[in-house]
C-alpha cells in the first residue's frame, strides 16, 4: 500500500490530539460549551492594581496560578495544561516520551517587576544606581531568575516534561505565533523528518507593564464597563482588542503514522501560508496586498479554491484598522461570496491571546468542523456598515462546514493563515 499523500505528493498532516486553556476554562469540552453559548471570559483585572489604567479588563486565566507568580511561569503552566490534554487525547508515545519535535509559540521574555523590585530591595539603601544593582545580582541568590527569564526556558521545560525529540524551537511572529508553530510542524512532517510534531502556543502575559505597553500604542479597548462587552469585533463601536491569556496544543502526525496506530483523527491541516508586510511596524499596507497574498498562498498550499472554504475563523481583533482591513482583503480574495461566508471572531469571547491565538483559534476551528456548529461573534449590536460580513452575530449556528480558513496577523508585518479540514481533500 502506498502512503497516503496529498495532491502534491506530500504526506498528509492530521491532528490527533488537542488541548486548550482560555479565560473560559480549561479543556476542549468546557471551552466549546461556553464558546458556543456565547459567553465572555473577559473580566476586570484583579491580579494587580488597576489604579490609573485606561484599560482595566482582560481575559486573564485566574483559575490557574503559579508560585512564585510570574508571567513566564504562568505561560509555562498554561502550556503544560494544554499539552497534557492534547497528548492524552492523542495517546501518542509513552509517558514523557513524545516521538517528535516541539515547536513553541511563546511571548518574548524579560525580567518582571516583582523580581526586579526584589533585586532592588536587596541593595539595602536608597539612591542607588544600576551598578549597585549589578553588585547584588550575582552570587547565586537570584540564579533561579536567570533560568526563569531566558527566552528558551519554557520550551526547555516542556521538552523535558513531555520528552520531545531534538532541539525545541521557541518562536515569535507576534500575534501570528500560534499559526507559525503549527506551520513549522506541518513542514517538518511534509519533509519526512518526523512522523509527529508537538505544536504548542501559550501566553500568560497579562501584567501591568504588558498592558500599559499595548495601551500606550492605543491598541486596547477602553470600554471597561461591563468588561464582557469590551471586545466587539466587526462592530461599528469597536475600539481595540482585549488582552488575554491562554494556550493551545496540537499533536500533528502524518496520516500514515496516525492510521498505523489507530489514532483518533480530529482533522487535517490542509494548508499553511505566510506573507510579510513591509509597509509599517504596526500597520498593514493600505492596499492589503500582503494579507491577500497570504490567503492566496494558503489556498494554493492546500490545493483549494475560494469556493471550497465555507467558514472563516477571523483574526478579528476588534481594532478599528484590523477589522476593516480584514474585510477588505477577504472581499478581494473571495469576492461577493465574502459577504455570505460565515465569519467568526473567537476574540469577542476569549479576547486576544496574542502568542497563543493562532493555535487556540485553529483548535476552535477544528472543533467547529467536528461539531458542525459555528461559534458566534458576540457583542455584535451595532454592525459596521463598512464591513458587510455575516459574522454569525451573537448566537452559535449549526452549519455544514468542510474547510475553515483561520487567519492571524501581527505587528512586524506578520501574516499567517491556515486551512483546516475534517477529512483529507
Amino acid at each position: 500500500m502506498t502512503a497516503p499523500r496529498d495532491k502534491f505528493g506530500r504526506p498528509i498532516v492530521v491532528v490527533t490530539g488537542m488541548g486548550v486553556v482560555t479565560s473560559l476554562g480549561a479543556g476542549k469540552e468546557d471551552n466549546w460549551a461556553r464558546l458556543t453559548a456565547g459567553e465572555s471570559g473577559i473580566r476586570t483585572v484583579t491580579r494587580f492594581p488597576i489604579d490609573g489604567l485606561r484599560t482595566t479588563m482582560a481575559g486573564t486565566v485566574d483559575f490557574i496560578t503559579v508560585d512564585p507568580a510570574s508571567s513566564t511561569g504562568l505561560t509555562e503552566r498554561l502550556a503544560v495544561v494544554a499539552t497534557e490534554e492534547a497528548v492524552g487525547q492523542s495517546g501518542i508515545g509513552g509517558k514523557g516520551d513524545f516521538p517528535g519535535p516541539l515547536f513553541l509559540a511563546v511571548a518574548p521574555v524579560e525580567v518582571e517587576w516583582p523580581q526586579r523590585i526584589e533585586v532592588g530591595q536587596a541593595i539595602g539603601k536608597a539612591d542607588f544606581d544600576v551598578n549597585d544593582m549589578l553588585a547584588v545580582s550575582g552570587g547565586g541568590k537570584f540564579a533561579k531568575y536567570h533560568h526563569r527569564f531566558m527566552f528558551g526556558s519554557v520550551a526547555r521545560y516542556l521538552a523535558e516534561k513531555f520528552g520531545t525529540k531534538g532541539s525545541p524551537i521557541s518562536l515569535s511572529t507576534a500575534c501570528a505565533s500560534g499559526a507559525t508553530a503549527i506551520q513549522l510542524g506541518v513542514e517538518a512532517i511534509r519533509r519526512g523528518e518526523a512522523d509527529a510534531a508537538l505544536c504548542v502556543a501559550t501566553d500568560g502575559s497579562v501584567n501591568p507593564e504588558a498592558l500599559i505597553r499595548f495601551s500606550l500604542l492605543s491598541a486596547l479597548s477602553t470600554q471597561n464597563d461591563p468588561p464582557q462587552a469590551a471586545s466587539k469585533p466587526f462592530s461599528k463601536n469597536r475600539d481595540g482588542f482585549v488582552m488575554a491569556e491562554g494556550a493551545g496544543a496540537l499533536v500533528l502526525e502524518s496520516y500514515e503514522a496516525a492510521m498505523a496506530r489507530g489514532a483518533p483523527i480530529l482533522g487535517v491541516v490542509a494548508g499553511c501560508g505566510e506573507l510579510t508586510d513591509s509597509f509599517h511596524r504596526t500597520r498593514s499596507s493600505p492596499d492589503g496586498k500582503p494579507i491577500i497574498g497570504c490567503m492566496h498562498k494558503t489556498l494554493a498550499d492546500a490545493g483549494l479554491t475560494t469556493d471550497q472554504i465555507d467558514h472563516i475563523n477571523a483574526h478579528g481583533t476588534a481594532t478599528p484598522e484590523n477589522d476593516r482591513m480584514e474585510f477588505q482583503t477577504m472581499f478581494n480574495v473571495f469576492g461577493e461570496r465574502a459577504k455570505q461566508i460565515p465569519v467568526s471572531s473567537n476574540k469577542s469571547m476569549v479576547g486576544h491571546t496574542i502568542s497563543a491565538a493562532g493555535a487556540v483559534e485553529a483548535i476552535f476551528s477544528l472543533l467547529t468542523l467536528e461539531h458542525q456548529r459555528i461559534p458566534p461573534t458576540i457583542n455584535y449590536d451595532i454592525p459596521d456598515p463598512a464591513i458587510p460580513l455575516d459574522v454569525v452575530p451573537n448566537k452559535a449556528r449549526d452549519a455544514r462546514v468542510t474547510a475553515v480558513m483561520s487567519n492571524s496577523f501581527g505587528f512586524g508585518g506578520q501574516n499567517a493563515s491556515l486551512i483546516l479540514t475534517r477529512e483529507p481533500i
Partner: protein
Amino acid sequence: MTEPKEVWITGIGIVSSLGEGLDAHWDALNARRINVDEKRFAPYVVHPLAPVSFDAQIPKKGDQRQMEAWQRIGTYAAGLALDSAGVKGNQEILGRMDMIVAAGGGERDVPVDMAILNSYAKGNSSPAFLNERLLNDLRPTLFLAQLSNLLAGNIAIVHGVSGTSRTFMGEEAASIDAARIALARIASGQSDIALVGAAHNGERTDLLILYEFGDFNLTDRFAPVWARDKDDSGFALGSAGVFLVMESREHAEARGAKPYARLTKVVADLAQRKQPGAVTKSLEALWPKLGTLGDDGALITGTTGVEPVTSEEKAFLSQHPGYAVRATGTMFGHTLETQFPLGLALAALSISRGALFPPNDPTGLEIEKSGAPAQIVVMGAGHWQGEGLALVEAIK
C-alpha cells in the same frame, strides 16, 4: 523523496567589535586583533561594537530612531548580506525571500527602571505607583524596539525582505535552529532562498544583570576563552550582527551568483545537563550525523568560557585532536544568538579565502593549520542549554 538540493551560502554580512564587512574581518582575524573594553562596564568585560555609520544601510533616520541598538546592528548586517549576495534592491527576489531571525529582546529604558526602583526603596509604593510611572515614563514606541520579532520587521521595512518572516528565540540554540530549519526548507524544495541571522548588543546593563544572576559574566580582566580557568570563568558579552543568504544551488546558478561555500548539514539537540558530561556526550552523538569527516579538519566554535559547559566542550574536542580549533569568543566575545551565524560566516569566509585564520590562544589548544580547508565544522553549545554542529564545505 526527491534528492535533497544542495544549499549554498551566497551572501555574508558581518558587523562586530572588529569592524564591518568581510575584508575588515579577515584582516583583523589574521592580525589576531581583539577589541575589548574592561573599563566602561567595570568590572564586567565587553567587546563593544566598532564605529559604524548606520546611514549606509539604514538610510532613513526615522527608521533608525524606531529601533533599539540590537535592531540597528541586525538591520545593518542584513543589508551587508544582501549586498554581498547581489540581491539588494532586487524586488522580485526579496519579495519571495524567506527570513529566519534568531532574536532576544531589546534594551529596557534603564533610567526609567532605576527611578522606579529608587522610589520603591524610599517606600513610595502605593498600589497605583507602578502603573502611573510606567504610563508616564515609558516611551510608546519603545515596545516595538524591544519586541523580538521586530528585528525581522525592521529588515522587511528597510530592505524589503518580504517573503516570509519567522523569529526564533532561545539564546544560542535559536540561531542553530534557524540555520537548521532554513537549510532543511531549501534542501527539500520548500524554499529557494533565505536570509538567516541574528544580532546582539552586548553593551547593556540590563543584560549584564540577567547574566549576573547566574554568575556568567567575565570580570576584571580579559582572557582568551581557553585561558579562562574554573575560578575565572565567564563570558564577555559582545556586540555583533551576522546574516547569511542561503539558497539552492540551482537558484544561485540561475542568477549567476557566486557562492562562498556550501552549507551541508546542521544538527542540534538539547542535552539534559543535570548529568556531568551530558554536553560532551551530546556533541559526540551529533558528530557522526554531519557525514563523512576527515581526521585533520578545522572547527570553529562559539565556546562561551563559562563553566561547566566549556570544560565539556574541551573534553569533546580532545577526542578529535587532529582538528584545528578556533574559538570566536576570544575575538568577538559572546554574542548569544549571533554566535552560531558568526561561526558559519567565518567558516564560509575561510573557505572562500582558501585558508583558515590563525590561532589566537596562548594555551596551545588552537593549532596552526596551513592549506585550503575543504571542510569546516561549526560548533555551538549554549551557556546553559542547547548544542549543535554544522558542516560548511568547499564547493566541488
